[in-house]
Chain length 161, copies 3
């Protein structure tokens, strides 16, 4: 639903950390922001890495193990197909670069500059032991599913990615 000023809204839950899905999410977010829509992205589970700095996380044994297996930042994401131990990422990077497509990290930073609202899911952050201070600058405060659902209710477009 547009608000009183007629601004259209988009709400997106981003659970995937796959390179291709994240490209999709940020291309949609940036396109929408460029069209003047209010955009809210709610990052959960695997999606949390997309807003992380390149640093290790985890306090308990399992949390540290997860931090080792799924650590780093957005540049570590693999395509969901043809991963080939990193070769897929390299190949897609080449193909995108040669067609003048920005990197994932550049797209995310552009989204922040366009005013896209990014929030980590509090529960996922707790379970995966990824605290707010590991997120890049510009990411807003953690929120719960209730906040996301309120945003989704008033949005014209909603996606689960």
């Amino acid at each position: 639903m547009s608000d009183e000023n007629g601004q259209k809204k988009l709400a997106m839950a981003v659970m995937s950390g796959d390179m291709d899905k994240l490209f999709g999410a940020f291309i949609i977010a940036n396109g929408a922001a460029a069209m003047g829509m209010e955009v809210t992205m709610f990052f959960t589970y695997w999606g949390l890495r997309a807003i992380k700095k390149n640093m290790n996380t985890g306090t308990t044994f399992f949390g540290r193990m997860l931090g080792l297996m799924y650590g780093g930042d957005i540049s570590k994401s693999h395509p969901s197909k043809f991963s080939f131990g990193g070769m897929g990422r390299w190949m897609f990077g080449k193909m995108m670069g040669s067609h003048n497509v920005a990197t994932l990290g550049e797209m995310r930073d552009m989204a922040l500059q366009l005013g896209v609202n990014m929030h980590g899911c509090q529960m996922s952050m707790d379970v995966m032991e990824i605290p707010q201070e590991t997120f890049i600058e510009g990411v807003k405060e953690p929120v719960g599913v209730g906040y996301f659902l309120l945003k989704a209710q008033e949005a014209d477009v909603q996606f689960f990615i």
Copy 2:
């Protein structure tokens, strides 16, 4: 669209049977139901296991084979990443438990108690040979895609998970 009483509505197609996606689906469903929304979940393909009892299915050769490979109940779901032949499930179970997050089965049962409407997709049930009597108590009658689309049309929020 809210109905005449102003009740907001959510419609979700759940095709995935992955542990993490199902957590996402039930956390959203329970959050929405707790906020007073009418929630409809339409379980298709791999999602059907989420509403199954722990029993074998299948009548034809292929159906029985599928029942063996993808049988059991919601507790058998693996995370979409780091499955490690079951170790991933165990590890995520530990991490969630230590952060006081309910199990998937508990979340689903809570959803039923909160009045979430769960339906199996009739066509998927036929193809995968998973009949209504293998579902847990509280799951409503099987419906087709037309029913789901009518619910989605009148919903304020729709997701495909």
Copy 3:
């Protein structure tokens, strides 16, 4: 939002090329079209193969490699689980056939006959080097994410698959 004639609308981004996800996408599209809804499908990345003819693509080295690894047409799609180097596709084909479910190709052709609007995502087509002339007859002109978002804004139902 229904238009002045009250026609309901559905907008779908199809990024997945998995057999099961595509079944879901086309079953929803055909169901919606049969109910009189205006349906727009926006095929991106792996989803592009669903509207391709059975021919090779790619001009650069990486593009040709991708064409070899992920070439062919919709009949080459694998289920997202139990792929088993093609056996999963064969098995699901058998199970669907024995329950009188159409093949993926038949469902897509039915969607075209029902007037479903199918577009390739221009950027994905550029990056993956899959030009419009490799698409089957009936696929409309390539569009960008802005076009898709406009369609999504005015749609009653939107999905990302």
